[in-house]
């Protein structure tokens, strides 16, 4: 009988704890979700919604938007970055952005696909000196020296 009552008290304790947890965390969860909805309220268009992910990785919004506009579907492109994270840091690219920009653009630009620079039809230059890529690149968009998108003339 004593054991049975002990079990009952334990069960009641578990249920009470669950009920208190729910009561405490329900408003917190609703507030948190509502806060997120209000935070993202500035997103008004599908394009902004797509590019905000890259923005959160510090990939320049303009570079993403122009890459989407300029590089056609099915085209091979090459992303040219500084040779190392240290060199990238000198161009103002943080280490997380340096390692994430290539996979993120691969996701963003599909069905355009990344290829080696020699086989590329388009070049996306981020933190690189576009002038060093040669005369064959016709620059279609640029912002300063460190962000540019060009087409390789064959």
């Amino acid at each position: 009988m004593f054991v049975e009552r002990g079990r009952f008290v334990l069960g009641l304790g578990c249920v009470s704890a669950a009920a208190v947890l729910l009561a405490v965390h329900l408003s917190g969860a609703l507030n948190s979700l509502d806060g997120s909805v209000r935070f993202y309220a500035y997103i008004r268009t599908p394009l902004v919604r797509v590019l905000t992910t890259g923005d959160s990785l510090d990939i320049p919004y303009g570079l993403q938007a122009e890459a989407l506009r300029v590089v056609p579907r099915g085209a091979g492109y090459a992303l040219v970055l500084p040779p190392s994270a240290q060199a990238a840091a000198r161009e103002g690219i943080n280490p997380v952005t340096y390692v994430t920009v290539a996979p993120f653009l691969a996701y963003l630009l599909l069905p355009a696909y990344p290829v080696r620079p020699l086989r590329a039809r388009y070049v996306i230059c981020y933190g690189c000196d576009g002038r060093r890529l040669g005369e064959r690149v016709r620059w279609l968009w640029s912002e300063g020296h460190e962000q540019a998108i060009g087409e390789v003339e064959r």
Partner: protein, 478 residues
């Protein structure tokens, strides 16, 4: 309603149709209310079965056109309908009985309303949130885009993304969404994950209600909706929560089968288990842990349990073999850690920190509330009771212990994984969610027997109200 949202809803309506067909074939309904209650389970079953078949189509070199998906769904519905007609299982014609007005019913309704409130808030977020989670844009969504644009997985690009050997279910599901959305607009995938959670919530509530009073079932279902990590990561287009939701549902179906021995529960568990294995590599490990738990819990009745569960598990695994053959034939990296005995011994200093990290993550109250401690406490107490309560407790405890060992083994053998709790550098902070969700859905089954014993022995009113879906068969069995 935007075209993207409409497309996702159309696809999930097809999943629902397929799931309803399957449920009709293996179970049937005693009333319209019963049918209504099983809609969540129908969605989850349809999604699991159709997406599993979609992975097989991809491995066979096919594509996932809208027509293919629709044909698969209609075929599953037709197969289920044919089974139902053969078993003379008509569609329900009576409405059924609503639960009476009582304190327990009001408590259940309050918890259900709380759950729906969180679901509504999650839906609002799913409509505007950008794509989140590193793995989503690094490989899950790109793979889905390749399937969508190239109509298959034979493009060499498919295996160039990170995790080339990862199972196909998530990219296949996302590619089907893109097909019905008529674009590869990835952020809208959040709605698909929301629907997955909706299906899980109503499935779990409906299954639990067969065994425990509705108020305790809904209390714990509502708790799953306020798990901080779930609200934080559910809408990311990754595989983690898909795995967790499917795994805990499969475990719940298996436990329900142990309690009720109704064959349809076993069939449903098999379908969902095959989807679990096809979702992530950890799925196979988790299914193994569940198998160990069931085996330990049913040691005394192994003759009537192990062969059936073994057959279901083997079938679920066999359905995933074509994918293993596919990536093995392309010489991709093997799917399990390859460390030899030498390197394991060399890395033995990682064992304790790995175990400590797994336990710390599992018991993190800020991430998972106290669902695991609650379920563990109730399970320990249930060990002092006999019968099905003890069986469930042993199953839960052994599954948890095996999973903790398994996660520790992953961290120990994968020396490249850092021993920290950052979600971006190791999968363990995310994968422990499967055990947390398992704790949430099994907790009512572990707590209810503790409450029952001090009262006069009688069935709870809500459980008594549950109509028997197949009274003839049960009578024959009796």
């Amino acid at each position: 309603m935007g075209e993207s949202l409409r497309g996702i809803l159309e696809l999930n309506a097809l999943f629902l149709l397929a799931g309803l067909g399957l449920l009709w074939g293996v179970r049937g309904w005693s009333s319209l209310l019963d049918l209504l209650e099983s809609l969540g389970l129908a969605l989850m079953l349809g999604l699991s079965a159709v997406t599993m078949l979609a992975t097989l189509i991809l491995v066979a070199g096919g594509g996932l056109s809208a027509l293919t998906v629709a044909v698969v769904c209609v075929a599953l519905f037709a197969a289920g309908g044919a089974l139902a007609l053969a078993a003379r299982r008509p569609l329900p014609s009576v409405f059924g009985r609503l639960p009476g007005r009582s304190a327990a019913a009001i408590a259940a309704a309050a918890a259900a309303i709380a759950t729906v409130a969180v679901l509504v808030a999650l839906f609002q977020l799913a409509r505007i949130q950008p794509l989140g989670g590193g793995d989503s844009w690094e490989f899950w969504v790109p793979k889905a885009k390749v399937i969508y644009f190239d109509r298959g997985i034979d493009n060499p690009l498919f295996t160039r993304f990170a995790g080339p050997r990862y199972p196909l279910l998530v990219p296949a599901l996302q590619a089907m969404d893109f097909r019905f959305m008529r674009s590869a607009f990835a952020p809208e995938l959040a709605v698909q994950y929301w629907l997955l959670f909706v299906g899980f919530v109503f499935s779990a509530a409906a299954l639990l209600r067969r065994l425990v009073p509705a108020w305790i079932a809904w209390l714990f279902v509502a708790l799953t909706a306020v798990i901080p990590q779930l609200d934080y990561r559910l809408l990311n287009a990754q595989a983690d929560w898909t795995l967790d939701l499917l795994y805990s549902l499969a475990a719940l179906l298996a436990v329900c089968w142990l309690h009720r021995r109704e064959r349809w529960l076993l069939v449903a568990a098999g379908i969902v288990l095959s989807a679990v294995i096809a979702t992530k590599q950890e799925g196979l490990l988790l299914v193994g842990c569940l198998g160990a738990g069931i085996a330990a819990a049913t040691l005394r009745s192994w003759r009537s349990t192990w062969p059936q569960l073994g057959a279901v598990g083997a079938l679920a695994y066999t359905l995933n073999l074509p994918w293993r053959f596919w990536w093995a034939s392309r010489h991709l990296v093997v799917a399990v850690p390859t460390s030899g005995v030498g390197s394991l011994l060399r890395d033995r200093s990682r064992i304790w920190p790995s175990l400590e990290l797994v336990l710390r993550l599992l018991f993190s109250t800020s991430d998972w509330l106290v669902l695991v401690p609650l379920a563990l406490t109730a399970a320990a107490a249930c060990l002092t009771i006999g019968g099905s309560a003890r069986e469930t407790a042993v199953l839960y405890l052994v599954t948890c212990a095996a999973a903790v060992c398994g996660f520790t083994w992953i961290l120990w053998t994968e020396a490249s994984l850092p021993l920290n709790d950052q979600q971006s550098s190791t999968p363990i902070p995310r994968v422990v969610g499967s055990i947390v969700l398992l704790s949430a859905v099994l907790a009512p089954l572990l707590i209810q027997p503790l409450l029952e014993r001090a009262q006069p022995r009688r069935q709870p009113p809500e459980a008594r109200d549950v109509p028997d879906p197949d009274p003839d068969r049960r009578a024959a069995e009796a």
